[in-house]
Amino acid sequence: MRPLVYRRAASLAEAERLLAEHPAATLLAGGMTLIPTLKLRLARPSHVVDIARLAELRGIDGKDGRLTVGAATTHAEVAGAVAVRRAIPALAELAAGIGDPQVRNAGTLGGSVANNDPAADYPAAVLALDATIETNRRTIPAAEFLVGMFATALAPGEIVLRVGFAMPERAAYRKFAHPASGYAMAGVFVAEHRDGVRVAVTGAGPGAFRWREAEAALAKRFNAGSLAGLEPDASGLNADIHASAEYRANLAGVMARRAVAAIQ
């Protein structure tokens, strides 16, 4: 790791000030992506600004059909929170399957969303649960927030405060984990809302995406059978030493059917 300056912000205002003063600063919450990246010297921030303990980034609240979760909430806290389990059990289940216990005890919702790893689990939930990302400056709808591989709409100095999820009628998430990394080779979040079905796929492509064809099929009849033989188009999916795009397309189909079967 290169030399850097660590600052723990005592308040949101201080975090904003530190980011403004140090253009090469980066935010640190759970650090589950940032610290390994720093260790491999793949990033060179001058400062890291620790926001993990900010009160402004804490809290879980469900009302008016939306569940709001503070950005500094760890995956383990999301998995265990009664409010989450009651409102969106599939979200709690998703969080319980991220990484491993040690990672879940440190990694945060906000960090995961802001990192937008194309194989992370949360981006699928963010899309399927019509989430809004609330920052210190504005509120951004999920579809506009997730821009591409490791890219988001966040501007310099912008900090994710909380994520609001629409509570679905019913939902489920199924993933096929990469045998080495544990990240999603393909993960599919299926959510049936009052106003329609959303199906979001992570891991298979260069970023999480909504699978409209599956949504349309499920809107007609919410049944695993409706997805028989359906796969996302492999041409836009990832191919690497671990698996072909066609394999990932197949997995997306299989995981979608299993998610639907789980909530039928």
Binding site: P3, L40, F176, A180, S181, A239, H242, S244, N250
Partner: protein, 688 residues
């Protein structure tokens, strides 16, 4: 053998990604890493060769002037002409190419060393994980030209070795040179990335077997053509793996009148290959048992009966194979019957049908393996027992435990030999001052070699103590009997305990009861039958190992719990190879693409759902314990058993063979293709 020089720091040409090119010494690791970023090296890219096929291609880039055609050497064993004749008259012939893909050994402790140099005595003290101080001293001496007697090696707890902690590495030499130049101790602790890139790697073998059968299904001849990827340089064991270890048991448990094997060892721009858990023996066991299964399916033979018909029968022991290896003992049919019964082999059809009803492909795989163990480079094995003022007997050995539990097993042997409580015996390896002769850990030989020497030591101590006991008891030595840790005058109650006697004699150094246990112990042939049962999800290609039964003839078992632990570990390391592990180098750049645990799948908890391990000992006469060795047999059994199980599950789809590793992606593709799906691109081909 054409053996190019392997310089500790690359000169002129860097032969593999991971080869050290420069060293920075600093006050802290962080400072050294900061400084290392400032090192600027101008590289001119040369075309790499990473695979056997690339290296042997006409016009391929040449790595070393000493090795034209990138060939280190061409080796043969057995009778080529007799094999040719046998194949000419065969009723059936089966031919199969198998690849044992390149692996990264990955002991959990990364490689490390610390060295200091005493300018007065010119002695280097080197702390490093190793498999035995003598071997490391020799290897380091060869690497650095420092005489053996000026190398003091200290090894204490070793966090896993598996063969790849046996050789000396470039970093040892660099750290020694730096310590001498600076006059201060210098330490290097590798990261996991450096383990992936810089440790010797394992396997990387391509084995082509041909089996000649008569009309009744008897094996007439077996012929092998092996190609071993040595990596960029020849390690001390790389060529041994690719030649001797592949051919010494090339007929496995079968009575085969004619055997012939050829092996070529090839240089490539990849990390050098060395011994890794089994060092060629699991690979040949895998190849034999895959070929047996394949041939049985090809010619409509029941694979169990086919094996039984061709086993070396117990009454043929000792049995000399067609290429001259002598198996001293074994009862292969009884071991297989035991395994089949314990695995519920007869009831498998019902389990397969039940799985099919759930949409899963279930398969069962049998492997009757045999491997050579016990051979060691040293002419004999010695251990020394020393009675200390602290009331303990300390036994110094040369085998450095990396988790095998020598401290327990050897203490049990000495304590039971002496009839004293195990708490009174302490095992210490790697005495820096030791002048003992013997081999280190390797080839599953520690129990047969060092353990036998421990057994001899116990007898020596008793004989050495007898006259002193006689003196103490004022009796004639021949009137004493020794039992339960004490000398007693026959027919009386007058006795003196061994440790009481030792206390009485304390003072002079060495202690009068200090003794040397030694002997020369022969090769052994651990064997067994493993039965694996797997269930494949055809939708995802994921495999569950639902049941695994290991029945092993490892000879006499000294410590049952430790032996079982070795089988568990070996079998799961094999499972890692069968289901996911592989080192892949990019063919165009020579970069290792699987250089972290995020890209290299290690086995994790729960990989085998139901695991039964049973010893089936047929003691050997080649050592005083009757032990055959267990360190590597798990891999030799599990590679073929698991591979056969997967291919049994796939056979109804018309899939007769498939390359390792059986990742979910590869299995799904094979299944999808067999079911008629047109695939535009297949997963990455296995790399050897």
């Amino acid at each position: 053998m054409r053996k190019p020089v392997w310089p500790p720091l690359a000169r002129e040409r860097v032969h593999f990604v991971g080869q050290p090119v420069a060293a920075v010494i600093a006050e802290s690791a962080a400072a050294a890493a900061d400084a290392a970023e400032l090192v600027q090296i101008e590289y001119r890219d040369l075309a790499p060769v990473t695979t056997l096929a690339d290296a042997l291609r006409e016009g391929a880039p040449q790595l070393h002037a000493e090795a034209p055609g990138n060939l280190a050497f061409d080796f043969e064993s057995g009778d080529a002409a007799a094999a040719e004749a046998a194949f000419a008259k065969a009723a059936h012939v089966s031919r199969l190419t198998l690849r044992s893909q390149r692996l990264v050994g990955n002991p959990m402790e990364p490689r490390a060393c610390a060295a200091s140099h005493d300018a007065g005595t010119a002695i280097y003290t080197i702390y490093t994980p190793t498999q035995g101080v003598n071997g490391m001293r020799g290897a380091l001496s060869a690497l650095t030209n420092v005489p053996r007697e000026r190398l003091r090696i200290v090894a204490q707890d070793v966090g896993g070795s598996f063969g790849i902690r046996s050789p000396a590495y470039p970093e040892h030499a660099v750290v020694m040179a730096a310590a001498k130049r600076l006059g201060r101790p210098v330490k290097w602790v590798g990261t996991r990335s450096e383990v992936f890139l810089g440790d010797n790697q394992g396997r990387a073998l391509e084995l082509t077997g041909e089996l000649a059968l008569d009309a009744t299904g008897r094996i007439l001849a077996l012929r092998w053509d092996h190609v071993a990827n040595l990596g960029a340089y020849a390690t001390p064991f790389g060529a041994w793996v690719g030649t001797r270890n592949l051919t010494v048991t090339m007929g496995g448990v079968y009575r085969i009148p004619v055997l012939y094997g050829r092996a070529r060892c090839v240089y490539t721009n990849t990390a050098p290959v060395s011994a890794y858990r089994g060092a060629g023996r699991p690979d040949i066991a895998f190849a034999i048992e895959r070929l047996i299964e394949y041939a049985a399916a090809e010619h409509g033979l029941d694979p169990i009966e086919f094996r039984r018909r061709n086993f070396v029968p117990a009454e043929a022991m000792p049995y000399k194979t067609a290429n001259g290896t002598v198996y001293d003992s074994g009862d292969f049919a009884a071991v297989m019957d035991d395994a089949l019964a314990r695995a519920g082999h007869a009831g498998f059809a019902a389990r397969r049908a039940e799985a099919a009803a759930r949409g899963k492909l279930r398969g069962i795989g049998v492997a009757a393996y045999l491997e050579a163990a016990g051979a060691g480079a040293a002419p004999k094995d010695q251990v020394r027992g020393r009675f200390g003022a602290d009331g303990f007997l300390t036994v110094w050995t040369l085998t450095q435990s990396g988790g095998q539990g020598h401290e327990t097993t050897f203490a049990e042997i000495v304590a039971s030999g002496l009839g004293v409580p195990i708490e009174r015996v302490r095992i210490r390896a790697s005495d820096p001052e030791a002048d003992l002769v013997g081999s280190g850990v390797g080839g599953s030989r520690s129990l047969a070699g060092c353990g036998s020497a421990c057994r001899v030591l116990a007898d020596r101590i008793v004989e050495q103590a007898r006259p002193f006991a006689a003196e103490a008891l004022e009796a004639a030595p021949e009137d004493l009997e020794y039992a339960r840790g004490a000398f007693t005058i026959k027919g009386t109650g007058r006795a003196i305990g061994l440790f009481a006697l030792a206390e009485r004699l304390a003072g002079p150094t060495p202690h009068p009861l200090d003794a040397l246990g030694e002997g020369t112990f022969g090769a052994t042939f651990p064997n067994g039958c493993h039965v694996a049962e797997v269930e494949i999800d055809p939708d995802t290609g994921a495999t569950r190992i639902v049941r695994y039964t290991a029945v092993d003839d490892i000879g006499t078992v000294v410590s049952p719990a430790l032996a079982r632990g070795q089988v568990h570990g070996g079998v799961v390391q094999g499972a890692g190879q069968v289901f996911g592990e592989q080192a892949i180098y990019a063919p165009d750049s020579g970069q290792l693409l699987t250089a972290s645990f995020a890209d290299y799948p290690m086995p994790r908890a729960g990989i085998i759902e139901r695991f039964d391990v049973h010893p089936h000992p047929v003691p050997t006469g080649t050592n005083v314990l009757g032990a055959k060795g267990v360190g590597e047999s798990g891999c030799s059994g599990s590679l073929p058993a698991l591979a056969n199980a997967v291919l049994d599950a796939l056979r109804p789809l018309g899939i007769a063979t498939l390359d390792l590793p059986f990742t979910p992606a590869r299995l799904w593709e094979a299944i999808a293709a067999a079911r008629g799906r047109a695939l535009s691109r297949r997963a990455h081909a296995p790399q050897v």
